[in-house]
Assembly symmetry: C2
Homo-oligomer: 244 residues x 2
C-alpha cells in the first residue's frame, strides 16, 4: 500500500542491501556450514552461527561511527567479527589458516538476492537510477551484484561517503553525490531503524517487508515502525507502486 | 595487436571515459551550438568552442591536484571553465541566466558513446568487472551511462578517490577499492599520458585508438606513446583480444 498518496515520485532510489536485496542469513549459513565442517565443527548450527556473526555488526561499526577509530571497510570488520565469533565457539582463530579465514570472511561476498530482486531492480532502473546505500564496501557490493545479476547504476554507501549508516551524512552525502536534494532520494530498506534515520536526514522512505530475514524471528527494530511513504512486499511491488 | 604475449589477463578493467568511451567533442559541440544560438552567437564554430572549453580542463584540475584547492567535483570545474571560455568569446557570463549556465555546463552529461562502446563493454563485463576511472564525478558518469546504455559494475574515479588523474593514488586507490593489486587492474584509455601514469603506478595498460577524438587533429600526448600491454581499435577489439 502507498501510505501517502500525492507524494512525489523519487528522482533516484538508494537501497539497503543486506536483508533488503539479498538474503544474508541463508548465504552466510550455507558458507559457514562448509567452513565449520572443514574445521571439524559440523555439529554447530550454521544459521545460529550466522546470527551470532551478524550480532557483532552494529558493535563493530560503533567505534568507527563514534570517531574512536579511522574508517575501515566492512570487509575488514567482517573478518574481525568472524575471529570474535569463532572465539565464542571455543575455536582458536590463530590455529586456522589465514587464507581460510579470509575466504570465510568473504562469505558475505557470496550472498544470493531475494527471488524478486533482479526483476524488481531492473523494472525500477528503467525509470530512475538505482544505487546501493549499504554499509558494505564497493568490492563486497560488486561481488554480490555480479554473482546475482543485480545491475546498479552506481555503488555508493559507506566506503564512498566514509560514513556508516545511520549517521545522517551517510544519507545526505549520497544525495549530494547523485546531484539530488535529500527529499528527491528514497531509501529502500527492510529495516525501520535505517528508514527512521533516512527520514530524519530528509529522505523519502520505502519499507520492504522481508519476514524471513531472520528466519522468521521478529525484527529487533520493530518499535521504530512508522508510516513510510511506501510499504511494499517486494521490489516488484515497489516498481508497480512507483511506476505502475 | 597484443604487444606482450604472455601477460596475465586483468582481473578488472578500469576505463577512462572522455574520449575513450564517449565522444566528448561531438557532444559538447552539439550542445554548445544550441546554447550559442540561444544567446545570439550562432556564428561561433561550436566544435572550436568545445575544444576551447576542453583546453581549460588540465589547468582547472591543476590547483586541486597540487593541493592549492580542496577537492571539488568536475561538474563544478566544468561550470567554471565554461564561464572562462565565454569571457574569451566576449560573452559576459553575468548577463546570462544562471539556470542556462548550469544547463550548458551539464552538456558533459549528454555525451554519446562511440559506436563500439556499448557492445564492447557488455562483452568485457561478461568476463571481468568493468568500472569507470574517469576524472568525471559520479552524477556525471551516471548520466552519461544511462543516456547511452553503458553498464558499469561500479563508478569509481576522482570523486571516490578524491584524487584527479594522473596522480598515482588515483590509480592505486581504485585498485585497492576493488580489492585487487595494481598489476591485476588494467586501465583502458585513448590517451598515452593517462596510460603512462597508470603504468608508473603499477597497472596494466590498454590503448584504444580514437583518431576522431579531436576531429582528426593529432593527440597532444603522442610523444608519450609506449608499447602498451594491449593496443586496440575499439572496445570490441579489446574484448576479442582479452577473451577471444
Amino acid at each position: 500500500m502507498r501510505d501517502s498518496p500525492g507524494v512525489a515520485v523519487p528522482r533516484a532510489l538508494a537501497f539497503d542491501v543486506f536483508g533488503t536485496v539479498v538474503d544474508w542469513r541463508a548465504g552466510v549459513a550455507r558458507e559457514s556450514g562448509q567452513f565449520l565442517r572443514a574445521i571439524g565443527r559440523a555439529e554447530v548450527d550454521a544459521a545460529v552461527f550466522a546470527d551470532d556473526w551478524r550480532a557483532r555488526y552494529q558493535p563493530a561499526m560503533a567505534a568507527v561511527r563514534d570517531g574512536a577509530r579511522d574508517f575501515v571497510v566492512l570487509d575488514v570488520l567482517h573478518r574481525e567479527m568472524l575471529v570474535d565469533v569463532l572465539r565464542a565457539y571455543d575455536v582458536d582463530p590463530g590455529s586456522l589458516d589465514g587464507a581460510l579465514l579470509d575466504d570465510w570472511a568473504r562469505a558475505w561476498h557470496r550472498l544470493d538476492p531475494w527471488p524478486d530482486a533482479v526483476e524488481g531492480l531492473a523494472r525500477l532502473r528503467a525509470h530512475v537510477p538505482v544505487v546501493t546505500l549499504s554499509n558494505g564496501n564497493v568490492a563486497l557490493m560488486l561481488a554480490i551484484a555480479r554473482r546475482g545479476g543485480l545491475v546498479w547504476d552506481a555503488i555508493l554507501g559507506a566506503e564512498v561517503t566514509q560514513r556508516y549508516k545511520p549517521l545522517p551524512e551517510a544519507y545526505t552525502a549520497t544525495a549530494a553525490i547523485l546531484g539530488v536534494a535529500p527529499h528527491e532520494l528514497c531509501l529502500v530498506a527492510a529495516h525501520h531503524s535505517d528508514l527512521a534515520a533516512a527520514r530524519d536526514a530528509g529522505l523519502l522512505t520505502a519499507y520492504v517487508d522481508r519476514p524471513m530475514e531472520r528466519g522468521g524471528a521478529p525484527a529487533p527494530d520493530r518499535h521504530l515502525r512508522q508510516s513510510w511513504e511506501w510499504q511494499v512486499t517486494s521490489l516488484i511491488d515497489l516498481a508497480e507502486q512507483l511506476h505502475g
